[in-house]
């Protein structure tokens, strides 16, 4: 018989964190390898060495699986990004914490970071974003608002602000991800270069 009570499932989830982590890890790996269209529950079950039936106990379908894994990991990322951060901080100090948190998360969670890079282009992004950015988006918006009011940040269009505030950081992190920067130059992320780059960004955004 393939039925089981939810209580049993819950217990299994607690006891079987390894299996859950394995599903998450392999799902992200397959999604990165085969793309969102090439991914299937069958392939995932095979990669995890579990039956398709077991996979369907946890997730309704591919859509449900991608979204729930995205939400779970997204919440972890948001939490990591908010560590030691407050929207009332001076702009320079706040942006520094943001750069430190975002780079630390990226470097420790390369697979998940790539997953979020790729999901941006899909219809899953909106559902996941709506679930995870409660609190995050308003906090970041408040930070920008406060900084402009305190005359610590130029008044700019949002995309102009964001591309200067975070574009250089993610450029460096993508260099690290490829192990190469522009023109195939070997590259290794360093905090020294990150802080040097942050100085320039702070100069750019100061009124």
């Amino acid at each position: 018989m393939n039925e089981r009570s939810f209580i049993f499932v819950s217990e299994m989830r607690i006891r079987d964190t390894n299996k859950e982590l394995s599903v998450k890890h392999h799902a992200m790996e397959l999604l990165l390898k085969d793309g969102f269209d090439g991914f299937s529950m069958q392939k995932l079950a095979k990669a995890c060495d579990i039956s398709v039936g077991t996979l369907y106990i946890y997730y309704k379908n591919k859509e449900d699986l991608i979204i729930r894994i995205g939400i779970e990991e997204g919440k972890r990322m948001m939490k990591a990004t908010m560590k030691n951060f407050s929207p009332d901080m001076p702009f320079a100090a706040g942006l520094k914490v943001q750069w430190e948190n975002r780079s630390a998360y990226w470097l420790k969670n390369k697979q998940a970071s790539l997953f979020f890079e790729n999901i941006k282009h899909t219809h899953y992004a909106e559902v996941i974003l709506n679930e995870i950015s409660d609190g995050f988006r308003p906090t970041m918006q408040q930070f920008v608002k406060n900084s402009i009011a305190k005359k610590e940040l130029e008044f700019l269009s949002f995309e102009s602000y964001w591309s200067v505030a975070f574009g250089p950081l993610y450029t460096l992190l993508k260099f690290e991800q490829n192990g190469k920067s522009v023109g195939n130059r070997p590259y290794k992320f360093s905090k020294k270069v990150m802080y040097q780059t942050l100085e320039l960004v702070l100069k750019a955004l100061k009124p």
Binding site: N2, E3, R4, V52, G53, Y56, I57, N61
Partner: protein
């Protein structure tokens, strides 16, 4: 609550609708969905009862293939 997982041959929208009228009126079924993208057209049922066999028979009688998907 019990989760029941089946392999089916429900492919078309018409077949899905016919199955829907069966399942939606079933006393023990809380929720159900079919993964149409899957090769096995997996039917996932959330039921108040542990009634795998009864549901399978109901669906088979309506002319659809419906088998247990092993763990």
């Amino acid at each position: 609550m019990h989760i029941l997982i089946f392999k089916t041959n429900i492919e078309t929208e018409d077949a899905r609708k016919e199955l829907g009228s069966l399942l939606n009126s079933h006393r023990s079924i809380i929720d159900w969905n079919i993964d149409k993208e899957d090769v096995d057209k997996v039917l996932r049922i959330e039921s108040e009862l542990n009634n795998t066999r009864e549901i399978m028979t109901t669906i088979n009688k309506a002319g659809f293939i419906c088998e247990e998907l092993p763990d």
